[in-house]
């Protein structure tokens, strides 16, 4: 039984695309045939983060409009087996996404894939609504910062009222919290909301905490999902999150700053 998972947040710039890329790669690494679909029509970036921007010929919108077949638009990842990317159009606008069109493409993807990850655009308008409408589960990507938390709460309200599952009065979309850009040093000095603060406010189960790290920018510079950098903390945090999603019981890591002596600190700084 295939599952449609939306990566959403309301707010922009919190790490939806980064998380979608890593989450999809993580599911594929665990042996599940996975596709990640870019819903950000007009501002496509998933292809860049996945490092396949030069291989895009046809896209999601071409398939919706019948200008290309699904097989022609799907890009197979060169590093990870079982992983595919469906890029979106850079030139059209979000009105190109029609509900019947999206339903038809997702239906066809369901026949082929175990997991379909929908990378949502920011906002709560058409593009974002289309990305979440057909979802079975939702990963709410949130930064420990007030505007992000507020927007996450908004998007939870939208999921509960305007998704297909809500409209058909089916079992509600299953919600997961993914806290990203968690800066341990600022949490320790009381300058950043803690995991517990955010969980208390949003009141949804925690899938993972991804620490703030330079390796995320490095990964996107290189066009490689950060989960493939298994030496990095974000890479490990995403792998854990994927594991929990698949039912592994794993303790949360990277929730407290490592204690560093003055020498280590000096060394780290000069390194």
């Amino acid at each position: 039984m295939s599952k449609i998972i939306v990566m959403t947040s309301g707010k922009g710039g919190v790490g939806k695309t980064t998380s979608a890329a890593s989450f999809a790669a993580g599911l594929a690494l665990r042996g599940h045939k996975t596709v990640v679909v870019d819903f950000d029509v007009g501002l496509r970036n998933l292809d860049l983060v996945m490092g396949c921007e030069r291989r895009v010929v046809f896209d999601f919108i071409n398939v919706i409009n019948g200008d290309a077949r699904l097989k022609q638009a799907l890009i197979r990842d060169k590093r990870v087996e079982n992983l595919w990317i469906l890029p979106t159009s850079q030139t059209r606008d979000k009105n190109a996404l029609t509900k019947p069109g999206v339903e038809r493409v997702l239906g066809a993807l369901r026949q082929e894939f175990d997991f379909i990850i929908c990378d949502s655009p920011a906002g709560i308008e058409k593009g974002a609504l289309m990305a979440l409408y057909f979802s079975d589960e939702a990963v709410i990507v949130t930064n420990p910062e007030i505007s992000s938390v507020r927007d996450s709460d908004r998007i939870l309200g939208v999921l509960a009222s305007r998704s297909r599952r809500a409209e058909l009065e089916m079992e509600p979309v299953k919600e997961h919290l993914l806290l990203t850009r968690y800066d341990l040093n600022r949490v320790e000095t009381g300058e950043m909301l803690t995991v517990d603060d955010v969980m208390e406010i949003l009141a949804i189960p925690l899938l993972g905490v991804v620490p703030e790290s330079q390796s995320v920018l490095r990964a996107s510079n290189l066009g490689s999902p950060v989960i493939l950098d298994s030496a990095s903390q974000p890479g490990q945090a995403y792998a854990d999150a994927v594991g929990r999603f698949l039912g592994d019981s794993l303790e949360h890591r990277f929730l407290t700053a490592e204690r560093r002596g003055i020498f280590q600190r000096l060394l780290r700084r000069s390194a």
Binding site: I146, R150, D153, R154, G190, E191, L193, D197, I201
Partner: protein, 87 residues
């Protein structure tokens, strides 16, 4: 900046963020999930209050609170001018 400021620590700001969010969320959730007539009721109440006192719009709040299987309508009207029903 004086030399002293270098040693003086500002109080942490995260608790303020948390408190503001909690208040805001309670308000927004009530607003979003309450019945449709809530904004209109709010407006009508304001109009009535203004007949008897000088009061600014933000001193009248209307919200719905869910307590178990009971929904409560909570109306808060803050009288202008301070205590002892000052006007």
């Amino acid at each position: 900046m004086s030399l002293l400021d270098l040693f003086r620590r500002q109080p942490p700001s995260a608790p303020a963020a948390r408190e503001r969010l909690q208040i805001l969320m309670a308000h927004e959730r009530a607003g979003v999930r309450g019945p449709d007539y809530l904004p209109k009721l709010h407006k009508d109440l304001l109009r009535v209050c203004k007949k008897y006192m000088q009061i600014s719009d933000d001193k009248v709040s209307v919200r719905v609170e869910e307590l178990g299987n009971v929904s409560m309508l909570e109306v808060n009207i803050e009288l202008p001018g301070g205590g002892a029903y000052a006007r």
